[in-house]
């Protein structure tokens, strides 16, 4: 365990303390203690910056299951450091914000912070692990933590539904991803990402390349809310707003992006990787932006805009993978702009979307509503909140001088670059990328105006609110103001990021390319197509907003629910109904049915195995001879046994049962087993006494009044069981005599006297060689005796309808 390992696991360890802190230190908000963890981790991870920005990396190994190649190896390079800083940095601000958002008197803070720390640790584990199995484990932990946080207010039905939805979709994706990882292991024989990248050529030639890629992408797409799996994200907005800001916009939903970026060196360069990711990203970008326009709830609007922005980053990673196809080892901005834009926008999105979620949370917290039809005119009452929102929205819309403008221009430039590519059929279809990018940008611009105009401008109507509306307390404003300032700082001085963060991250995504020299500039000259696209976006966006009165009455705007939810709802209802039906058929409440299921299953399983492995055999060579006395015994025994089901008198039945038992002890005598005979005799006698004791109180035996069809099924099942056991007895005897090995019984025959000093081998085995077994057997008998005693003596008072 190195310091890096401890750092990664520290949120989990700290989570153990949280319940105690919550319980015993009531006076101080638990969040203040929690705040220390992400803050210290953030500073700790900052110390890695000099290493990664000079092109280096840190690799710490810790063996976990070395025999299976599963090791908890941590690897810090530009990409993982970028994410680690995001997780801890935004984490610090979110915890600070939550201290004021969740009041300490009424909320279950212990649960909240335990889940949050669990998430933070798991997320750090994902981005720092080098081993894909370890990544998978942490990946599922984030899904669980996310669901727990969505259902934090679990008494609301919508919270539970949202949690179930996100759980089902992300865990489904996670399992697919595990399948993909297993295929990668089958191809390459390693779980290490480093070694996978080193073996990329071998993986690319494998016939399992495409299945592995598709399965891994399924995991990434479900996590990062890509179309059509995005439907869980809007419902996840039932979580407290700090969670939405942290998990559902800044970090967890970017885990899919991380995975795609991380595995780009493995899969990148193939046409499938390029097209699947680019198309999924573009459709998500478009679908998210057009759905966001329809939303009336601030958080839903932000959720769809997050989906859209995630699609944007995904598209860029898809387009950027073309660099692998073309790669000549040196940076060529025609191909690498896309990856640059992806990394840069990742940072920018975290800053502006984080601040926007926090201001939306403030509006919700102070006014009691998030409905833009009720809100309005908040600018005068909440000036700071309004300013931060304006900065965030302008950045998201792509306006200068904010950071969103820079990355949006790079994005537009990257889509324009694609048109000039001459591979992957891009000559024909490449032109669609700038078109979709442009349309989605117009819609993005439109919903940004709608959000600001509806919430903050216009006339303030006090009658719309239950609460007295005022500006949020300063503590709540710190985090959004810091993020808002970062939006401006990164917007004005983007190059403070370029060599420290962006270049190392790009180098990690494209390890075979050298000589990154990132210079982000605000002005590319009049001939830049991105500039004209930005101007076009503003013009069209404003135009659409002017016409809003026209289209806001159409059903497009009035219905806000994503139509894809219909598919999920039907599937979910079907799942629940289906499982109910299965349960009803199976759980009849009748002992007879349960035993019949078991019997049929046993017969089928054993019968199948016998046929499958040709395991039936009869051995006539080694059988011992049958004496006339034996014939007599067998006949009597069989007759008595067959008679039992036909007896309708309890006394007769008990007598016949004990006749069978005593005959059995005669068999044991014939089998040269005197101890067994003695025991059987004794047990049978006691059993008979027991039967006689309860005899008076036992019910009378009646003739079975089952339907004939029932009886027939019972008979068939019984004969099946009998037949299969006869076959097993015959076969195991035959195979037992067939194989020539020394029976372990020889050991007991030789050693009974020497080691245990006894002549009766059976007794010696029971009390000496297997003495402990016998002791436990006595324990079982004692438990049974206790049970018997209790059942007779126990008198439950009152309700006996158990």
């Amino acid at each position: 365990m190195t310091i890096l390992h401890w750092a990664t696991l520290s949120p989990f360890l700290f989570a153990l303390l949280i319940p105690m802190l919550y319980k015993y230190i009531k006076r101080i908000h638990t969040g203040w203690f929690v705040l220390i963890v992400p803050l210290v981790l953030f500073i700790y991870f900052l110390s890695f910056l000099p290493v990664t920005s000079s092109g280096g990396s840190v690799n710490q190994t810790l063996n976990w299951v070395p025999s299976l190649g599963i090791n908890f190896n941590l690897y810090v390079d530009g990409l993982s450091l970028l994410f680690a800083l995001l997780i801890t940095g935004i984490g610090t601000l979110v915890v600070l914000y939550s201290i004021y958002y969740l009041s300490k008197g009424t909320e279950k803070l212990n649960n909240f912070y335990v889940y949050l720390m669990m998430f933070m640790g798991a997320m750090l584990g994902i981005v720092l692990s080098d081993n894909i199995i370890v990544i998978y484990v942490f990946w599922e932990v984030t899904s669980i933590a996310s669901s727990l946080l969505i259902s934090y207010w679990f008494y609301r039905k919508k919270s539970i539904d949202g949690a179930v939805k996100s759980m089902l979709i992300t865990v489904f994706g996670g399992l697919s991803m595990l399948g993909g990882f297993s295929l990668l292991y089958v191809i390459s024989g390693t779980f290490s990402i480093r070694e996978l990248i080193a073996n990329a050529d071998m993986i690319a030639e494998s016939s399992l390349f495409l299945p592995a890629m598709l399965l891994v992408l399924l995991g990434a797409f479900t996590k990062s809310a890509q179309f059509p799996f995005h439907i869980w994200l809007p419902d996840a907005m039932e979580a407290p707003t700090p969670v939405s800001a942290y998990l559902h916009s800044a970090t967890m939903v970017k885990a899919g992006i991380y995975l795609v970026a991380r595995l780009t060196p493995v899969f990148g360069g193939s046409a499938e990787w390029f097209w699947i990711i680019s198309i999924a990203g573009t459709v998500t970008l478009f679908w998210g932006s057009i759905s966001a326009v329809r939303q009336k709830d601030l958080k839903s609007l932000l959720a769809f805009s997050t989906i859209s922005q995630l699609g944007l980053i995904m598209t860029l990673l898809g387009l950027g993978s073309a660099a692998f196809y073309y790669s000549d080892g040196m940076e060529d901005s025609l191909y690498t702009t896309a990856v640059l834009a992806a990394v840069f926008h990742l940072v920018n999105h975290a800053t502006f979307k984080g601040s926007l979620f926090m201001t939306a949370g403030i509006v919700d917290h102070e006014t009691g509503t998030r409905d833009i039809r009720k809100l309005g005119g908040l600018m005068t009452i909440m000036p700071i909140t309004a300013t931060v929102s304006l900065v965030g929205l302008a950045s998201m819309a792509g306006l200068p001088p904010f950071n969103g403008f820079l990355s949006k221009e790079l994005f537009l430039q990257a889509t324009v670059n694609v048109v000039s590519f001459d591979f992957f059929n891009l000559e024909t279809w490449g032109v669609l990328f700038p078109v979709f990018a442009f349309v989605a940008s117009v819609l993005t611009f439109l919903y940004c105006i709608i959000m600001f105009a509806k919430a903050f401008t216009g006339k303030f109507k006090p009658e719309n609110y239950d609460a007295h509306v005022h500006e949020a307390p300063w503590g709540m404003l710190i985090s959004p103001v810091i993020l808002g300032s970062l939006v401006i700082i990164f917007g004005l001085f983007p190059n403070i990021l370029s060599s420290s963060i962006i270049e190392p991250a790009m180098a990690a995504i494209m390890p075979h390319t050298q000589g990154f020299d990132v210079k982000i500039s605000h002005w590319h000259g009049w001939s830049s197509p991105a500039l004209w696209m930005t101007i076009g976006v503003i013009v069209f966006g404003l135009g659409l907003y002017m016409l809003m009165n026209k289209w806001s009455q159409t059903s497009f705007y009035l219905k806000e629910r994503d139509p894809l939810n219909q598919v999920y709802d039907n599937w979910y209802d079907g799942l629940v109904k289906g499982s109910q039906t299965v349960t009803r058929i199976q759980m009849t409440g009748l002992l007879r049915d349960y035993i019949a299921y078991m019997a049929i299953f046993i017969v089928m399983l054993l019968g199948y195995s016998m046929i499958r492995y040709d395991a039936f055999a009869i051995d006539t060579a080694h059988v011992s001879e049958v004496t006339p006395y034996m014939w007599l015994l067998v006949l009597a025994f069989t007759a008595a046994t067959i008679a039992v089901p036909f007896i309708n008198n309890r006394l007769t039945a008990v007598i016949v049962i004990s006749v069978i038992g005593f005959l059995l002890s005669l068999f044991f005598v014939q089998f040269r087993a005197p101890d067994l005979a003695l025991t059987q005799l004794l047990v049978e006698t006691v059993t008979i006494i027991l039967f006689m004791l309860v005899f008076q109180r036992l019910p009378k035996l009646k003739k079975e009044k089952s339907r004939p069809r029932f009886k027939l099924v019972n008979l068939i099942v019984s004969i099946g069981v009998g037949g299969i056991f006869t076959m097993i007895a015959l076969s195991s005897f035959a195979f037992g005599s067939d194989v020539n090995y020394d029976s372990i019984a020889e050991y007991f025959i030789e050693n009974s006297k020497e080691l245990a000093g006894g002549y009766n081998m059976v007794n010696v085995i029971l009390v000496d060689f297997r003495g402990l077994d016998t002791m436990l057997e006595i324990l079982v008998l004692a438990i049974a005796a206790l049970g018997v005693y209790t059942l007779i003596k126990l008198r439950l008072k009152g309700s006996e309808d158990v």
């Binding site: 038992g661 059995l664 014939q670 067994l676 025991t679 079975e704 009998g722 037992g736």
Partner: protein, 112 residues
């Protein structure tokens, strides 16, 4: 003889399964009793019958019957006795509480 006993085991299993599937609780108890008889015979028969004298060293013979199998079956007989007596008392208790031993009537209500 092993073949003959194997067929007899089949009969035991058939009858006990049939009893287990019946409606009367008492018959189910009989079924478990016979089922354990069947299982004991099965274990003994698998090892081969009468392969020597009884496993007593004082007999001083060349071959003994497998003692390990007998030790296992002896354990099984005792455990089966525990189970049978427990089920017997359990069914007695059920009968006392519910005044019926018909499993059809004892099944829980549909909306449970």
């Amino acid at each position: 003889m092993e073949i003959l006993i194997s067929v007899m085991i089949g009969v035991l299993f058939t009858v006990s399964t049939y009893l287990l599937l019946s409606r009367s609780l008492l018959r189910v108890v009989f079924g478990t009793l016979l089922l354990s008889h069947g299982a004991h015979l099965l274990i003994i028969t698998m090892a081969g019958l009468q392969r020597g004298v009884s496993p007593l060293l004082s007999l001083d013979a060349d071959a003994y019957t497998d003692p390990l199998v007998q030790a296992m079956v002896l354990t099984a007989i005792v455990i089966a006795f525990g189970v049978t007596s427990f089920i017997l008392v359990l069914s007695y208790r059920i009968y006392k509480v519910h005044q019926t031993d018909d499993l059809e009537e004892l099944r829980g209500s549909a909306d449970e």
